[in-house]
Amino acid sequence: MATQNTKTLARLMMAPSVLLLLVWMIVPLAMTLWFSFQNYNLLNPGNVSFAGFFNYQYFYTDPAFFQSIWNTLVIVGGVLLITVVGGIAIALLLDQPIFGQGVVRILVISPFFVMPPVAALIWKNMIMHPGYGVLADIAKFFGLRPVDWFAQYPLFSIVIIVAWQWLPFATLILLTALQSLDGEQKEAAEMDGANFFNRFIYLVLPHLARAITVVILIQTIFLLGVYAEILVTTNGGPGYASTNLAFLIYRTALLGYDVGGASAGGIIAVVLANIVAFFLMRAVGKNLDR
């Protein structure tokens, strides 16, 4: 890609896909923006009129608004913490030579192949159910009272379910990064008198920095919009205890039939996501250019 000629050619060849992606992004965004300034309720679809900033004001003054933002951040932060720490731990274990390595690796990765509603339903009915969940059985075995997870710790339960789904992804990325660590560097550190802990702090962790950054960035994108797990387990409740921004928008649009209000919420979500992205890139983005 050196000469003027190849550069022009490359741009021409890329143009269709760039254009397609641009349209794909611009059209829904523009429509959402348009609807967010309209009085548009599906219960009364004939009566559409300009609303000004009323939809924004309506969404902002929704009693669940700030709680949903907080919940969104808790889900993102909690899942990131569990998956990154747990992912590193599991990757370190899987990097050891063990019997049946291939099978173990596939087993560890498999939760990622289970679609979110299915995973959430399994957790809801087979693991966390206070009557016949596995956790309840364990509690009963020890003579304790079973925990009603979704009633008592709704947000924490959601975090656990989502973390379970994303742990394999983090593990996979971190494991491949771990395997690319130069063996001679480890040996050199060993000769330099670094024990396992020091080798991890000074050699492994800096080596993983880039992979951890990738995991954080990619997961954040998906975690900001967690929805299916909430829908099939707590349905946002009790009250608004496990409602995040995406779920609040869904409530407004499809339970309140308020397209205008939901669109305003969508635009707010886009702005918030960009704020998160901005701080995230400032915090960890420098690991990417090395």
């Binding site: 050199a188 060993e190 000769m191």
Partner: protein, 334 residues
Amino acid sequence: MGSITLKNVSKVFGEAKVIPSIDLEINDGEFVVFVGPSGCGKSTLLRLIAGLEDVSGGQILIDGKDVTQSAPAERGLAMVFQSYALYPHMSVRNNIAFPLKMAKLDKAVIDKKVTDAARVLNLTDYLERRPSQLSGGQRQRVAIGRAIVREPSAFLFDEPLSNLDAALRGTMRLEISDLHHQLKTTMVYVTHDQVEAMTMADKIVVLNRGNIEQVGSPLDLYKSPRNLFVAGFIGSPHMNFVDGAYAQSKNAKTAGIRPEHLNLSKDSGLWTGTVKVAEHLGADTFLHLDVDGIGQITARCDGEFGAHHGDKVFLTPDEAKLHRFDDKGIALRA
């Protein structure tokens, strides 16, 4: 102090017996080079000494102390790796300071030692750089610096120059030799390059298939190789081996004559040969000849001796410098 003794050391990887059994004595302050073709077990032997591999049998003693079961760090050795194995995310300063930091030394002491090492190795201007911002030779020096600061009882080098270009290799060879004279510490050096072995070593250990073929000073090995393998491996260009009638006339199965011990003439001599390739190096010329009744012979002659492809030349081996080998390939002494 830094004497290393190997007693009956062996190493087995699965079915493969990489090192059947080796006994070796390395004296304090010696520069010992392990040399041999690839796959001869020289790197494995070094890693056994370093403690990066477990021995399958035998004992390793450092300064008379049995370290066979000790962890690498406890052996008091420092190693320079082929890939340098620098820590990529640390500055040169932190790379060199790392072993000291692991030894929990005082900050001021660490600083002083790092500065001293950097001065010795001409790295003072590069202390704040990352390894990726250094040239190959500089990286090599950082790796050596990281080894020096620990003040080990012996240095281990695993083919440290093989990633450098030819000119730099020559310079680094001198620098390492110079360092050895300054520090007077035992150094064990692994290489497949017999030029490095000849120029740097006090003692060369020639290895072949996990066995020691011969141990001796460079000139010992050059003058009186114990067998065909050592004779063919040490010396550049390689020794010529002549079988058949000529060897029998000298009461040997094989006669060996080095390229530099062949007298060349344009008008008379014992053998007649045709020049196939003439490599003119300036001071010397290497002639690759097709000799009647014998075959391929390499001869070294003065750069002034004009010979080109297709020329006829006459050769006479210097009888006093002839090597004779019996049918098992063992050298026959006069």
